[in-house]
């Protein structure tokens, strides 16, 4: 009991300082994907849209429309196309305008 008490004093408080400072545990969070436009083709985008279980991805002409709000960060797109999809590392995603969450990612992997 005494040991536990002294260790608690020595190692300080457990509460995060989050809004003022970054939290160290944030890098372990599953985060929504980020896409590599130069690696994405139309066929690749169609495959990503087909594999997305929550309808967050769809293709519109030569752009991938990505609705961050619908994304569950399940990682199926990253498993489908590991070269084109990576983790964004962003978790501070709250918005006051819903349409801001819908991102337009150009497909620049087309053969020219």
């Amino acid at each position: 009991m005494t040991q536990w008490f002294l260790r608690g004093i020595r190692r300080g408080v457990v509460t995060t300082r989050y809004p003022a400072r970054a939290d160290k545990s944030a890098r372990f969070l599953p985060t929504p994907p980020a896409f590599r436009p130069n690696t994405l083709t139309r066929q690749g985008a169609d495959r990503l849209a087909a594999v997305c279980p929550s309808g967050a991805l769809r293709r519109e002409d030569s752009a991938l429309i990505y609705d961050v709000g619908r994304c569950t960060a399940c990682g199926r797109c990253a498993a489908e196309a590991p070269a084109a999809v990576t983790s964004s590392g962003e978790f501070e995603l709250a918005v006051t305008v819903r349409s801001v969450l819908i991102k337009r990612i150009p497909l620049q992997g087309e053969p020219r």
């Binding site: 809004p19 994907p33 690696t39 619908r70 995603l93 006051t96």
Partner: protein
């Protein structure tokens, strides 16, 4: 942005404390687990002036999770109407934002279909840190970051282009 500033805003707008009522409209309860963690010592919501309350009459902020089951919509409306103004509605999680059950016949699919939403917090589930950021955005003291995030990444150094 410091906790002191956040506390000051909450104090000015809501008389020192902002009380949160959580509303589960058919979620799988993982959002609730994350919300519950906000009160745990690591995140300690109360240090920022936020508190949970069981009564909508005492609440300033409605934290809504789940895809808004149709049978629950009248209760959700009553909860919203029971809250005193000014009031904030926060839609929490991918279900509430229309991600998981967009066309399920038993749900409205989004919280927006029934309640006027002020802040959207994505994530499945949103982590306690994301929820803290969302609450900070809701009281207007933490900046929104998504507007400037492109969700694109530079090319992979080892892979050739066009192989997806």
């Amino acid at each position: 942005m410091t906790p002191e500033e956040l506390r000051e805003t909450v104090a000015r707008q809501f008389g020192r404390s902002l009380h949160i009522r959580t509303l589960d409209t058919g979620s799988c309860a993982v959002c609730e687990q994350e919300i519950r963690l906000l009160a745990a010592p690591h995140y300690d919501l109360n240090r920022l002036g936020f508190f949970f309350t069981p009564a909508p009459r005492h609440a300033d902020l409605l934290l809504v999770t789940g895809p808004m089951i149709r049978a629950f919509a009248p209760a959700a409306r009553k909860t919203y109407e029971a809250m005193p103004g000014p009031k904030i509605v926060v839609a929490t999680g991918a279900c509430a934002l229309g991600g998981v059950y967009p066309s399920d016949p038993f749900t409205h699919g989004t919280v927006e279909a029934v309640l006027p939403v002020d802040v959207w917090i994505p994530g499945c589930p949103p982590s306690p840190l994301a929820l803290l950021h969302g609450l900070g955005v809701a009281v207007g003291r933490l900046a929104e970051r998504v507007r400037d995030l492109p969700f694109t990444a530079p090319d992979h150094p080892e892979r050739t282009r066009g192989d997806s």
